[in-house]
């Protein structure tokens, strides 16, 4: 690869790539996003390659098999998108591939059985599917479209054009002004105005001349969240370009990509992208002939959720344990090696090129001020269509869960959503006390401030839908256990307080405790929130406190009635084999670890409830689903 000397050469390259791109060439884009990977997408992509080799067809133009990042509709994976036919095939298995090649690539016909269908309608094109129709892909524009390991594909689709525009047409101050007017707020969950952070860093660097550092926070520790992963794996250049523009605006020449250890593919894709960008001269010295120099270092996290906190990332990069320290001073004043440091979430950085491209006003037209722009969510849990979505802020929760998500299967539907991960909260669908408008619509607007008013947060984008079979006491307990393991242990309110709150919740889950304990737990939660040193501890009580606030009755059912209405908490439920369904196959007894199921073959088996530990193995193995929870 030859280094690109200036903006004109970059544009020339883009145009020649565009000209060389044949829109009539059949392309099969196989999704290698996290969900599809888990379903064997790699084997599907290999099947395509070998099927093409074996095919005796005479192609006018040889079909191209592309592997891409997440295409979004994870519950229907493996996804394969065919162009120019504009077909989306779902649930593709390696065995389906030879037929796809022959039918669709060779003969240009539609393979009906692999089309997505909903409520009796079959959909050919992805754009028509309700899941995709209500979304607005801005940041994810290239994810699922380009091959993330090929910088030319990214450039053809617009990568680095915003960098060129910033370097040529805007001064650093103008870039910051544009970001400020766009209203961009941190996408990692804090919702902090990005431009404000940038201005503080510039001001501090002016008072204390010396290096300014940039960090991309890719620690994404919230369980159930994979937005940043999808960006890093599917369109790594978006992050690189965002940081380049940020570097130009802030006078920074060194950036760090901090990616959690548990994302080896993201690390690999970013590593390749950085190398390719360097080879083209888009990272390094005198970028595009502008005189501006900038480079990126890739650092891996080491398995610590707390390293999503700004001062802990800095500690980790300096080679120390990820123990947060008091703020102020903030990283923009004294960060990495004491220098002004701007830390932004991966998704936040990926927004920057689009803000330059669309202009501040164009960007601010999306969403609802002061929550402008779009937000990426991982919509998961008890929802029909789960996956990666991007929506304008201000969309109603109802639209998100019911129209995009396809609703909640089951009789009682949507009980609550959990947002913001372990730092967030559990809020019910029916939201009565936020604004008159929301009360009237009986729903919640998904934006930073509306979500914050509920006591939860919008968070980084993990949105977990719960139904009547999910217990809020159990979920609150789950988050506390998660945080107890992730706490750095430095300060007492967090180290001991999480343990203390967990003791209460363990009691409730067993049906023990008193209603006064609920008040005590709320008081302890307040102490932990007030007394903790960093955001992990300060926000740890949120899931517990919001769940008590909105689902107090469910807690009281555990404590006073000794029942778990959702049928989850083991000490409060029993397993019983339904005699009307059981056919006496005996599989349950064979696998029961406590050997507490007995009966007559071909007649009926019963569980000794006193000995049963509710491990769930019998429910798993029963071919007739005869084991009931009572």
């Amino acid at each position: 690869m030859k280094k690109i000397k200036d903006v004109a050469e970059l544009e020339g390259l883009r145009q020649s790539l565009h000209a060389a791109h044949d829109p009539q060439q059949p392309v099969a884009r196989v999704c290698l996003g996290p969900g599809c990977l888990a379903l064997g997408a790699e084997k599907v992509s290999q099947a395509f390659k070998s099927a093409l080799k074996k095919s005796k067809a005479n192609f006018k133009v040889q079909p191209l098999i592309k592997t891409t990042g997440c295409q979004g509709l994870c519950s229907q994976g493996t996804l394969v998108n065919l162009s120019p036919a504009d077909l989306l095939y779902v649930r593709v298995k390696p065995e389906d591939v030879p037929e796809i090649v022959e039918t669709s690539l060779v003969k240009g016909q539609v393979l009906e059985r692999l089309l997505y269908s909903e409520n009796g309608t079959k959909y050919k094109s992805a754009a028509e599917i309700p899941f995709y129709r209500a979304q607005q892909k801005v940041i994810l524009k290239n994810v699922g479209v380009i091959d993330p390991l090929d910088i030319n594909d990214a450039i053809r689709c617009g990568a680095y054009q915003s960098l060129a525009k910033a370097l040529m047409d805007l001064s650093p101050a103008e870039v910051i002004k544009t970001v400020e007017l766009s209203g961009l707020r941190g996408r990692g969950g804090g919702g902090f105005p990005t431009a404000y952070k940038w201005r503080r860093a510039v001001e501090n660097a002016r008072q204390n001349p010396g290096p300014v550092y940039l960090i991309a926070n890719g620690e994404e520790g919230d369980p159930g969240a994979f937005m940043d992963r999808a960006i890093m794996e599917g369109d790594p250049h978006a992050v690189i370009e965002g940081m380049l523009i940020g570097g130009y605006a802030l006078g920074a020449h060194q950036g760090f990509l901090y990616v959690r250890h548990e994302y080896p593919i993201a690390i690999h894709h970013l590593s390749v992208a950085v190398q390719q960008a360097r080879a083209l001269g888009l990272l390094g010295k005198n970028i595009l002939g502008s005189g501006f120099a900038f480079d990126l270092q890739l650092n891996r996290g080491a398995g610590a959720y707390v390293c999503g906190e700004e001062t802990a990332i800095i500690a980790s990069l300096e080679g120390r344990v990820g123990e947060p320290v008091m703020r102020p001073p903030y990283p923009v004043e004294q960060g990495l090696w004491g220098r002004p440091t701007v830390i932004n979430n991966v998704e936040t950085w990926a927004n920057v090129p689009h803000i330059i491209r669309m202009g501040a006003e164009g960007y601010a037209n999306l969403g609802v001020p002061p929550s402008t722009g779009t937000k990426i969510f991982s919509l998961v849990g008890k929802v029909k269509n789960s996956g990666l979505v991007e929506v304008p802020m201000g969309i109603s929760l109802g639209t998100l869960v019911e129209e995009i998500g396809g609703g909640v299967p089951g009789q009682k539907g949507f009980k609550a959503v959990q947002t913001g991960g372990p730092s967030g909260g559990i809020v019910p669908y029916e939201f009565k006390d936020v604004t008159a408008e929301a009360a009237e619509k009986k729903t919640l607007s998904v934006d930073f401030d509306s979500m914050a008013k509920t006591g939860s947060t919008m968070g980084g984008g993990g949105m977990i839908v719960m139904d009547e079979h999910d217990c809020v006491v159990d979920l609150a307990r789950y988050f506390l256990r998660f945080l107890e393991e992730e706490s750095c242990g430095k300060c007492l309110p967090c180290r001991l307080g999480l343990k203390g709150m967990l003791e209460f919740l363990n009691q409730f889950a067993k049906g023990q405790g008193t209603p006064q304990d609920l008040d005590a737990l709320e008081s302890l939660g307040q102490a932990v929130a007030d007394g903790s040193l960093c955001g992990l501890g300060k926000r740890a009580p949120n899931p517990v406190l919001t769940s008590i606030r909105y689902f107090r009755d469910e807690y009281l059912a555990h404590i006073v009635d000794h029942k778990c209405p959702a049928g989850v908490c083991k000490d409060l439920i029993s397993f019983r084999i339904d005699p009307k369904i059981c056919d006496g196959c005996g599989l349950c007894a064979k696998h029961c670890p406590e050997a507490c199921i007995s009966g007559k073959k071909k007649k009926l088996f019963t569980i000794n409830e006193a000995a049963c530990i509710r491990c769930g193995v019998c429910r798993d193995v029963c071919p007739l689903d005869a084991v009931r929870v009572v």
């Binding site: 520790g221 610590a304 080679g319």
Partner: protein, 154 residues
């Protein structure tokens, strides 16, 4: 790793990838962990001498971060995802079932060093919850029987 003789040349080759500066301590330890499956006392001492940090600092780091282990890991790593969705879909039951089957607690390695059982959050495959990873392979909508079958093949 069992059966493989580790020479000083191997560890030297790893260390030489990085400049001698404390900021590379964690990256270096990660390479050592990946190459040898654990961090031995000898290697920890060599690394902290190389980058120039006190051994107390290296010890804190090796014990603070979950990605490092001071004991050799098993030949195969079984990672049960306990992300939120996997938890809601019975991930906890799955971990307990694996604990009973392998006769170890989560975070531990079997006596014959064949299997290490761990929990992770989250692998990002939430639509297939509950998910188990055995080495690099994913088992979506995992059940204990499915896991047992897969382990038998190893």
């Amino acid at each position: 790793m069992d059966g493989k003789k580790i020479s000083k040349a191997d560890i030297d080759a790893i260390m030489e990838r990085y400049p001698r500066h404390p900021q590379y301590l964690i990256s270096l330890l990660q390479d050592v962990q990946a190459a040898f499956n654990y961090i031995s006392p000898d290697n920890l001492n060599l690394v902290c001498d190389y980058v120039g940090v006190p051994v107390t600092q290296a010890w804190s780091i090796a014990t603070f971060y979950k990605s490092f282990s001071l004991e050799p890991k098993g030949e195969h790593e079984i990672k049960v995802c306990l992300g939120t969705t996997c938890h809601l879909k019975g991930g906890e039951n799955l971990v307990e079932a694996c604990e009973r089957h392998l006769q170890v607690e989560r975070g531990q390695t079997t006596g014959d060093r064949r299997f290490t059982l761990e929990t992770v959050k989250c692998v990002g495959a939430c639509s297939e919850a509950p998910v188990i990873m055995i080495d690099k392979e994913y088992l979506g909508q995992a059940t204990l029987l499915g896991v047992k079958q897969h382990l038998k093949k190893l």
